[in-house]
Symmetry: C2
Subunit: 215 residues, 2 copies
């Protein structure tokens, strides 16, 4: 359960929309001073009332008949999302996805700092990608503790994912971003986000099929 | 709007959960014959009533006091998701993420066939990754038409994403899976799914921060 200042419970879908609001305000800043909930809804692909409801969890940002102050709300969203705080992360699983994430610049731009890579393939251990060293997964627990790692990215094969998650959590990691195509068995309320690429592709297939049927 | 057989509108969140149900039934098949909505809810991290509601859009699968027939429901989900149908896709943007997706075996396992890669970097054109050729993005429109491409994956930089989407849609692509960190300007009801990695990482940061506060 995630609670707002006024003790209302913030639905997870609202939390997941916050970074999108932030992205828009980044683009809008310098171009416009204020924006209406109507207009913001159009950009976000939702309604004015949805926008007002989403943002109401975090304070009173809008003024009736005036709209939202872009600069102020952007700063507030940056605070809410802790954009300016460094968060240290590691990646377990140096396969195709893990490698791509290692080289994904956008993490650094958003305040995430990659501290180490982990795998079980002996031939990879000791190598570096983009100056980040690959360690054996057996060293992961100590590494997390010693380097105060906040976030663990899991990009190992499905069958290994739960074991890796268990080690991460036991070693004090604060949250997991999971790319393995499985639901991880984590304690209730443990911070976790899943990126299931194939699920998204299959949902897309369904949308395509549903649209063809209505023709 | 996506409508079920009984003309009820299926919420997009339900559609996005279907592949997860399918994944579970794949694992369950051969292990158990039937499963209760209660148990299925536990596995999915939701409630029995949510499970019953989700599946009710697609027919009458469960029997009161008996539960769901695993084999039958798995097959029905495979039909709903068109798992056994080949869907042809291309990838625009052969950067880190694009390259990783090219080598991502899970696509083929789920019926997706990669037909071509597109980029603007002259030094890449004509090369192949995993036997899939890289073409110049100016050839994409014709390629989509000639090869009857169903799905376009967009993994180009943010500023180029809308232009690529426009070309894809104009050339008859049926759906887009977008990895570029922006909302694409597509016609209403055009099938699209977004994978915004940084948004997920930022939402995770928020969950971590919210949990620390409650301590």
């Amino acid at each position: 359960m995630y609670k707002a200042r006024n003790n209302r419970i913030i639905p997870k879908v609202v939390i997941e929309r916050l970074p999108r609001y932030y992205r828009y305000f980044q683009i809008l800043e310098g171009k416009v001073d204020k924006i209406s909930s109507q207009k913001l809804g159009e950009i976000m692909g939702s309604s004015a009332s949805q926008v007002r409801l989403d943002l109401s969890y975090f304070g009173e940002f809008g003024l009736q008949g005036y709209g939202y102050n872009v600069k102020k709300l952007k700063e507030e969203l940056a605070n809410i999302l802790d954009i300016h705080k460094e968060r240290r992360f590691i990646i377990a699983g140096v396969g195709n996805i893990g490698r791509a994430l290692t080289r994904y610049d956008a993490f650094e731009g958003a305040g995430f700092k990659l501290m180490g890579l982990f795998d079980i393939k002996e031939e990879l251990i000791g190598q570096s990608i983009n100056n980040v060293k690959i360690y054996h997964v057996s060293e992961m627990g100590n590494f997390i503790k010693e380097n105060k790692i906040d976030i663990g990215i899991i990009s190992v094969p499905r069958d290994a994912a739960n074991e890796v998650a268990k080690t991460m959590i036991k070693s004090g990691i604060k949250g997991i971003l999971n790319f393995a195509p499985t639901e991880l068995d984590v304690p209730e309320d443990f911070p976790i986000e899943n990126i299931h690429i194939i699920d998204k592709a299959l949902a897309l297939s369904f949308l395509i099929k549903a649209k063809e049927k209505t023709k």
